[in-house]
Amino acid sequence: MLDERHCAAPVASVRDLKVYFQSKRGIVHAVDGVSFDIRDGETLGLVGETGCGKSVTGRSFLRLLPVPPCILAGGSVTFHTHVVCKACAGVGCEACDGTGRQAGRDRSVDLLGISSEDMRRIRGDRIAMIFQDPGKALNPTLPIGAQIAEVFLQHRTEELIALAGLPPDTVGAIRRFASQSPRFGDGWLLSLPGPRRAQRLRVEESLAKMVADALAETQVPNPGKLMARYPHELSGGMRQRVMIAQALACNPDLLIADEPTTALDVTVEARILELIRNLQQRRKTSVLYISHDLSLVRRISDRVAVMYAGRIVEIGTTAEVFANPRHPYTRGLMAAVPGADTPRGKLAAIRGTVPELVDPPTACRFAGRCPHETGTCRSNDPVLEAITPSQSVACFIDHPAQSGERPTYERVTK
């Protein structure tokens, strides 16, 4: 299974991504030269501490970063979209093996370079996102049905019109209604009795059906009734299901999941994880799963990338990274995870704190906290290099610099 994945072409490739933030104290290098691929259908786990830049990395796929104070300083995020299946309009049918997509690629775009209008078309349709706290990520004053409906109105206008039994060349107020771009007076036009009003009701009916179907996918009880509820009337788990339904409504190629279970109870967490896993496997969606929870990432990911202070320090298949962590930071993280056989009081913490990312010096970012550090680490910046075909690490232990000593694991005495 893994081998097959290795050959799979990436759905998105991040190359040397640099995202900086302007702050009072200077320019913060929040993400500083990050490169990785997300392969077709895989789940890539992105782990790291709070503030290491993992969320910023995730958000840059959708360019959901406030442009001042944020600076997109360089690099690219190339996204290879699929062709949406013509037969089922992305809903999933036999012709496309239930994925809603046709084999092969449509085109490649640099997500950081396209116009905001093009970006907008990709958001929610080809790349979707689940947020950390579903209580905050849902608009408190709109019924959840209306919120999910917006996705269809934005991206599935044609299908909506077809489903409502209207001719595909429908124009005017009703099309504007179905694409959520009303003009002044459309509201009155569509609510006055007459053929237009009947058409609007048909579109609304089809819309409700699409929303109910999307909700049903996430195994919520009674989706029809749920649509009229407000977010505050639902439990945290239910809200996150709504978020997932909303994110997967258009069958995206890539799902960015930014700590989707952090705000939830542990019991709910397991069910949500299972749900994401199931939906993803059925629809062959790729997932970038961002989390600070190592054991969780281990459970859900095919591959894992470890981020530290704006850099990826280690990336590889989950099996390899967990069996044989090479970077001292990865090792430290794993030692900090309690296992069933960890004796009480023996939990290791990494000494020190994450360095300030204002104008970082040319040095390994982990220098100062690393138990194996040498002079080399403080004057050279290690880059990510492969140590096996499926594991890379940015550390001088495995890739000695041209000059200078080489740190070894043996030097650790504590």
Partner: protein
């Protein structure tokens, strides 16, 4: 359930506050001495004075006098206005209509303009339109209305000579019936474009004077509420769905920012109510405010008491309605103790 308790409690506190206000108003006027003076003349003998005091119950203990006053109000007797030379209750509705027309016109303009301005600024935070709006808002809160009104009069009335003074042209005003007392509405009801034009033309400058500060209050609140909302996760989530920025702003952020903005309507209303006093003086507007100012200067206690009591009750009721609407609107609001 919880909301109903809240409404009930607020409704129960309202009469307590109204009684409190009436006591304060009554006490206040008695501090200035017995109101018997307005009924007296120099030639009266002590016996005559005593007789008048007895007639108006002024020889009774103060708290009994208070009860007589309250009973009078309950029966629609607010006393005699020396300034208007008529019972307060007779003059009040006419003056009130004139003031309300001015306050409502200013308030409506302020509400729409303030929301538009606040949205415009909040969506462009820390850019030029935002800074300009902030200057407008802060200066609006600092502007003495009586001075602003005079400046407008100097320019548009004294120098350019296009703006009128007063509420209406007497001849045109007399030409139509006045069932509502609101000149603009009456003009529309009478179907007289001349009267409507006259009404609006007279309304423009006073409304601008009164409305500027109110616009500033609303714009300021709207701006900060919008800025607050735009930082919420659901705004990013809406963008992540692929919604156009216009829809994110209008359907999500602005809609929710309007909820806290509702709370300043009470404040704005108080502001407008107070502002009518000076604005009516400057523009010779025959409303409550000018009547009050005249009464204050000429010791017309009955008018003063009625006016303070009336505006306070109105202020309380408006604030109550605003709070209830807010509690109802905001599904996130946790009702305080």
């Amino acid at each position: 359930m919880q909301l109903r308790d809240y409404i009930l409690r607020r409704l129960m506190v309202l009469p307590v506050l109204i009684i409190g206000v009436s006591i304060v108003v009554f006490t206040l006027t008695r501090i200035g001495g017995s109101p018997v003076g307005i009924y007296l003349s120099h030639e009266m003998t002590p016996d005559e004075v005593a007789e008048i005091e007895a007639r108006f119950n002024l020889d009774k203990p103060v708290w009994v006098q208070y009860l007589y006053w309250v009973r009078g109000i309950a029966m629609g007797d607010f006393g005699w206005s020396g300034v208007a030379a008529a019972p307060v209750a007779d003059v009040f509705p006419l003056k009130l209509a004139a003031t309300m027309e001015l306050a409502i016109a200013s308030g409506l303009v302020a509400l729409f303009l303030g929301i538009a301005l606040g949205t415009y600024a909040g969506a462009r935070r820390n850019r030029l339109p935002d800074h300009v709006t902030r200057i407008v808002a802060v200066s609006g809160a600092s502007l003495p209305q009586f001075w602003f009104g005079i400046l407008l009069l100097i320019i548009f009335w004294a120098h350019i000579g296009i703006a009128p003074i007063g509420r209406s042209d007497a001849a045109i005003f007399a030409s139509i019936a006045h069932p509502t007392g609101l000149y603009t509405i009456d003009a529309i009801l009478a179907g007289s474009p001349t009267a409507l034009w006259d009404a609006i033309w007279h309304l423009v400058l006073p409304s601008v004077t009164l409305g500027y500060g109110a616009t500033a209050i609303v714009a300021r609140m709207m701006r900060s509420a919008l800025v607050e909302e735009l930082q919420q996760d659901y705004v990013d989530a809406a963008r992540a769905k692929g919604l156009a920025e216009r829809i994110v702003l209008k359907r999500h952020a602005r809609r929710n920012a309007l909820v806290p903005t509702v709370t300043v309507i009470g404040l704005t209303f108080g502001f407008l109510l107070q502002g009518t006093i000076t604005v009516e003086i400057i523009y010779r507007w025959p409303g409550l405010g000018r009547w009050m100012a005249d009464s204050v200067l000429r010791g017309d206690q009955a008018t003063l008491m009625t006016y303070v009591l009336f505006t306070s009750v109105l202020f309380l009721v408006v604030n109550l309605i605003v709070d209830l609407v807010y509690a109802n609107l905001d599904r996130r609001v946790t009702l305080g103790k």
